[in-house]
Amino acid sequence: FTGAHRIDEDLYEELEEVLIQSDIGVTTSFELVTLLRKSVKERKISDPLMLQEVLKEHINALLGEESPLYISPDSLSVYLVVGVNGVGKTTTIGKLAKNLQLQGKNVLLAAGDTFRAAAIEQLEIWGDRAGVEVIKQTEGADPAAVAYDALRAAKSRKVDILIVDTAGRLHNKVNLMKELSKIKKVIQREVPEAPHEVLLVLDATTGQNAIQQVKLFQEAADVTGIILTKLDGTAKGGVILGIQGEARVPVKLIGIGEGINDLKPFNPAEFANALFA
């Protein structure tokens, strides 16, 4: 499309290819190109260079506005971090803790992954790096009990934000999703408005299965936001567009590296631009 001289079928096909290769999905890509064709007709566009811009417009419309994390102005905010295995939950919590701590917030972490080898130690190192404390029990303990403990500690220490880490779990494992619902219930019982955010961490390299992940995590724990990680790689994370078609969950943050500062607010326009970079 950079070298095209006129708008023709080849150009539309080329653009559709870019969308599909960004993991936007076949159906959503087709729908976006259909919207594009409509705009071209309605606005009588003849310059091929305009096509990419109009397409970005439609993508931005689908993504909506920037959506910040909810922080209660005068009481405890609880964030529950969930997602499938290896997507970056624990690392993201470390980054988020540092970020909030720099904003002057008093942050506490809960080592809710009591299953995986060295999961608690991993979060403790991040807590140390971020300068925040970690509530933990022994490996093998009931994660709901850890969450409960952490909530009591958060309330008694008058902490601003409690972030609860959970074990990675595949969304098709019914017993693990039940466990997650239980953790959420325990949190709700202790603090009625909590969790204030249920953040689903998605790996940008994930394909269409991300849609199923959002659906099932939503069912089990009412997801309020998505954190898209590993956008520093070559994957575009286009699945978030397909997700908007199925479940309106805003992408709130993006992970762009393994360092403690590699977390940014999600900006729809930047994201749309990156698709064509």
């Binding site: 295995n85 394909g207 199923q212 790689g233």
Partner: protein, 291 residues
């Protein structure tokens, strides 16, 4: 799934003699969508479709199958051709130890599968040694040590010093201690990180692995080809382990990775537990991808 869709496409073709190009084109649209939705890479789908088309056009509609079934059969066969046969052998070195090196993106499942492989080989009567060469991720060494303890396999570690030195020393240690298998766990990294890819090349030069295995998350999308290609071009892969196949992803990445590297997928990771390792079955994978 795809079979039903193709049956519908071909409903009006019962009793016809041959599959015409028009018939096949319509079917190819369905196949293309099915494969893309299963996360098979766009370019891999294009090549596959043109090969399937070639075989399907002009085919005599067999007595025993409907035209839809016939096309599905061709699609299935072409996918299995592409994915290669059953090949789960770890090349055992003529002079021990056999050195296996695990590489891949962050979070793919390398550390877990290093332990799974060690466990499998130990059950087969081998004496494996695990080497902790991830010095970056918090508690990575601890993670491997905990897993090693669970399966009673020794873990060689020198703390957070040069991974190349740890690898070299672990080989030395394996030889001295009669370990006939050395499994090197490396840090997750991006294929576009030159420095970290260089580190892998250095490790390879130092220990001359018999097997360099790329661990790939089964839910990887279009990016699978970029990753596999880069790792293969820079390191030379001997095989792939596809992890997290206990999920419900269709797993098109399997086809993409095989198509772009030619490397066999040797194992399937089917769970978080140590015994959740299976031989990779190309025919089962083809059915799963088709949906």
């Amino acid at each position: 799934g795809l079979s039903e869709k193709l049956q519908a496409t071909f409903k009006r073709l019962r009793g016809k003699g041959k599959l015409t190009e028009a018939d096949v084109n319509e079917a190819m649209r369905e196949v293309r969508v099915a494969l893309l939705e299963a996360d098979v890479n766009f370019k891999v789908v294009k090549d596959l479709i043109s090969r399937i088309k070639e075989r399907a056009v002009g085919q005599q509609v067999l007595e025993s199958l409907t035209p839809g079934q016939q096309v599905v059969k061709i699609v299935h066969e072409e996918m299995i051709n592409l994915m290669g046969g059953l090949e789960s052998k770890i090349q055992i070195a003529s002079k021990p130890p056999t050195v296996i090196m695990l590489v891949g993106l962050q979070g793919a499942g390398k550390t877990t599968h290093g332990a799974k492989l060690a466990n499998l080989l130990k059950k087969q009567g081998k004496r494996p040694l695990l080497a902790a060469c991830d010095i970056y991720r918090p508690a990575a060494i601890k993670q491997l040590e905990v897993l090693g303890e669970q399966i009673k396999v020794p873990v060689f570690s020198l703390g957070q010093i040069s991974p190349v030195k740890i690898a070299a020393d672990s080989l030395e240690h394996a030889r001295k201690n009669g370990n006939d298998i050395l499994i090197i766990d490396t840090a997750g990294r991006l294929h576009i990180n030159e420095e970290l890819m260089e580190e892998l090349v250095s490790i390879r030069e130092k220990v001359q692995p018999n097997e360099i295995l790329l661990v790939v998350d089964a839910m990887t999308g279009q990016d699978a080809v970029n990753v596999a290609e880069a790792f293969h071009n820079q390191l030379g892969l001997d095989g792939v382990i596809l992890s997290k196949l206990d999920g419900d992803t269709r797993g098109g990445a399997a086809l993409s990775v095989k198509a772009v590297t030619g490397c066999p997928i040797k194992f399937s990771g089917v769970g978080e537990k140590i015994d959740a390792l299976e031989v990779f079955h190309p025919d089962r994978m083809a059915s799963r991808i088709l949906g």
